[in-house]
Assembly symmetry: C2
């Protein structure tokens, strides 16, 4: 079930805790304190304790949390313990990088289909996935894939998104820098690298900033 | 100056507003309501009004905000109106995608140097940037570049980060899935695509989730 009582801001931090717990568990640590979890995840200990308390995980003073049990619990909440199949559309540089990335599996996700319209790209095999002609997107319906990853140029993203939804996709990871206009029952997570990048100058040391901004 | 009174959560949303305002301004709209800004940015109108009020931007009822003035103001706060030079290290698939991405400039950033250790990659020119041998990273100091973008594999990221800092970099955009251990005066923004991806199953419609998770 969805844990409706968990605030979205907390949900966003859960993958960080999950990864840190997996890491500690692999190192043979049976327990972990909120302070240690903070050292790895770079989130305040009090924030961690509050976040984890939303689903009843309470650490024991002086001992901490049970590493394995807590990572399983978070994995269950985020539904990372199963394997979801995904289709990727747009095998340019970013699409290729994602296809070659081996880390998705540990997040319960496997890209098993990829599409492009470039005839030089169609037919190639990357990481055991053979790239199909984008015109075959509608045949995706048969393979029961519910997650789509969009790495096409901005101008093509909306059309591709609609085709994915028509083919049965209801969760989309969108790398194109625009908001997709889709039915409400489709979940879209937008990843816009430039927006993160735009935060960098703001947080950089003031001494390096051009004088004209100072004192404004 | 840094607007210390602006909460970080608000700062994170400013690039979204900035992009929406630029878009509306380009369409010739002199004013924009919080509702319209909400339609484009997908953030609640009340949240927008609260965010903008932190730096004194108050809309006029029935008229809204002045599009151009507000976008300039946000650009000043985020320091996006200048041009900052950046160096990219690791020209694999992701690095290439970033080098080819033309959108950085509108965020006040220009990648003017790139490094790799692969001899097949060194010497190639992508988007007017010729890829240098990573051994020349220390010579970066002369070019007064203060922003580094790390797209090397996880195992090499820490070492590269230290070299960048030694070469005068104080702002790092890190795509490797680990926390960099660096001096406090270095700003690091971590971009971990897999962590965003990990949120997708959680937000997907419950009907598609394996039965074993239901009722837990």
């Amino acid at each position: 079930m969805r844990y409706h009582k968990i605030p979205d801001e907390t949900v966003k931090r859960l993958p960080l805790y999950w990864r840190a717990l997996k890491f500690m568990s692999a190192q043979g640590e049976t327990h972990i304190s909120s302070q240690k979890l903070s050292d790895i995840s770079h989130i305040n200990p009090w924030q961690i304790r509050k976040d984890l308390s939303y689903f009843g995980a309470l650490g024991v003073r002086g001992i901490g949390y049970k590493t394995k049990k807590l990572s399983e619990k978070i994995g269950d909440i985020l539904r990372l313990n199963g394997t979801q199949k995904a289709a990727l559309v747009g095998v340019g540089n970013l699409g290729q990088a994602l296809l070659k990335y081996s880390g998705f599996k540990s997040y319960g996700l496997e890209i098993i289909a990829a599409f492009d319209k470039n005839h030089k790209t169609i037919g190639k095999t990357i990481n055991q996935v053979t790239i199909d002609n984008i015109s075959k997107l509608r045949e995706l319906k048969r393979s029961k894939i519910h997650i789509g990853i969009i790495t096409v140029p901005e101008a093509e993203a909306q059309e591709v998104a609609v085709e994915l939804v028509n083919a049965g996709v209801c969760g989309i990871l969108n790398f194109a820098p625009l908001y997709l206009d889709l039915p409400k029952n489709v979940t879209v997570i937008n990843i816009d690298i430039a927006l993160d990048l735009a935060l960098l100058p703001y947080y950089m040391p003031a001494k390096l900033v051009a004088r004209r901004y100072i004192g404004k």
